[in-house]
Symmetry: C2
Subunit: 359 residues, 2 copies
Amino acid sequence: MKEITVQLDERSYPIFIGQGLLQQAGLLKPYISGQKVCIVSNQTVADLYLDRLQSQLTDYQVSIVLIEDGEQYKNMDSFNRVVDHLLEQNVDRKSTVIALGGGVIGDLAGYAAASCLRGINFIQIPTTLLAQVDSSVGGKTGVNHSQGKNLIGAFYQPSCVVADIDSLFSLSQREFSAGMAEVIKYGLISDADFFDWLEANTDSIKSLDKQKLAHIVARSCEIKADVVSQDEKESGLRAILNYGHTFGHAIEAAVGYQGWLHGEAISAGMVMASNLSAAMGALTEQNLDRIKNLFQAFALPIHPPASMSAAQMKALMLHDKKTIDAQVRLILLRAIGDAYVSADYSPQLLDKIITEALS
Amino acid sequence: MKEITVQLDERSYPIFIGQGLLQQAGLLKPYISGQKVCIVSNQTVADLYLDRLQSQLTDYQVSIVLIEDGEQYKNMDSFNRVVDHLLEQNVDRKSTVIALGGGVIGDLAGYAAASCLRGINFIQIPTTLLAQVDSSVGGKTGVNHSQGKNLIGAFYQPSCVVADIDSLFSLSQREFSAGMAEVIKYGLISDADFFDWLEANTDSIKSLDKQKLAHIVARSCEIKADVVSQDEKESGLRAILNYGHTFGHAIEAAVGYQGWLHGEAISAGMVMASNLSAAMGALTEQNLDRIKNLFQAFALPIHPPASMSAAQMKALMLHDKKTIDAQVRLILLRAIGDAYVSADYSPQLLDKIITEALS
């Protein structure tokens, strides 16, 4: 088992990465404060992992609330359902919410834990690759709104994160690939060596080599933990974790959060951001090709949906949370492994990239 | 104008107290970051003060959302209405929410500001005595739930608080008295001299002497700011601000948040907590009488509603946010001006106090 710490002074917390962690007796105990534990999950995940998790929770009063599976259920209605459940259980400030599932469950349960009694204890047990390498770490919680993704929520850190590699074996190939989009992102924004390593190990990663899986989860969490420790509330640096996301979120909104997985949308989005970086002279044609090839090697899309128009992309990008006074800020690359936040790009060049991608 | 600072490191903020502040040009400018300002209020308050406030906001894109007047509208439906409005206005992270009104508006608008884009800029302009001396200061925001008061919310500090004494002249006598319950509370929990001063100045306060009003708001805010600075998230000390509130919240829940104002409910609640303190030997009979007399001098109730049963009181008290593992913690007095948090009282004595109050 590997342990990585997210350094946030008195709110620092560990990420445990390894095999067999779900049923590892005593692992969660130091992170559960009161008697009541509420597990938030969905039916699919519960069928697979609830028994294992409950085997280490026999000392507690455990209740379970299941949310429908899918991004379209990450909304205020589901939030109300979780909060209603928690309050009906008479939770107190020492009670614990455990999110068992992917990013939807983690974001939703985290926002409910943050809001219930103005904040109760929270544990993340991500079961998808995407959630293990991204959404479960760093304290961003929330739900979607008809105006855009994650527009309602809170910064709320868990008391620990448990990433059990075993749960990655039940993912569909498509879900696994969607998670790989975020893994590749970490190479692109801050670790050229990790990008090289991913290129060199594509086949063994795709065949779910356990050592390799543990490495990609750990390295991704290390990079994310490092960025979050420096800028928890995204006043600057943290925005680089959103590489490709301004385009990607627009894609997800355009398709109504259906049909495209988050990882697929940001994959196409990262290619657009890379195109813009290349057009600004920061990436060679060869490196741009390497980026596209690595996404394609994991069967990830490199173009936005054909149904989307350039005008729609531009309008939806204005809703991005990084937008300030109608100025869209983007994450761009100086090189593979070196990202920066910028509002200082040519709007004409951005227009050109969007038009080329959507014609 | 008096300025009091709530000390919270980089999130410290001023409370401005004085006359004519609503229309004081330039007062808010340093605390507004972006172009967009959204005022949350209700029709009653807007009719009285919106023009004055808008006169100092001519440089901004101002939008207004009005919520129905009353505690029963401090709920998730109203929260959704405010958030929908903010997102439809395409607010960004530098946009500002201004709460113009009493505690309902401040708590609701604050929770919406905390949740929208995971937190946008927020300013409190409390227009009732209760909001000026209590709810606008300290960052507790939230809404009610059918299970109890303020069960959903966030700790979220404003960037400034503006308490314009002029707005106290439009309050009904009943609303003013309800605010006085919180003012008397500050004397009871931490300032015996202030309690004495309130006893000596009852008549001039009731006749709304401006100097006296400014003093009671300022002294109350000083005490609250001092407590909040020491314990923002209520891990200990801050709970003393809840003197009488465990009983009071149970009363409010029992009457369905209607018919009893918050200040009235906690007035009866503080008398119950004082009765318990006296029964434990901490208050003399004479001091207990002084407490009851001061509440009665401001026409505040000293008994819970006759419609309530002892069993109902006990059941509802379990929902208090200070309850941990079914152990109700109470705020008790060592003397007038000296409160403490305790789970170490005799349950039999508490039973006796509740039964006496409700028979």
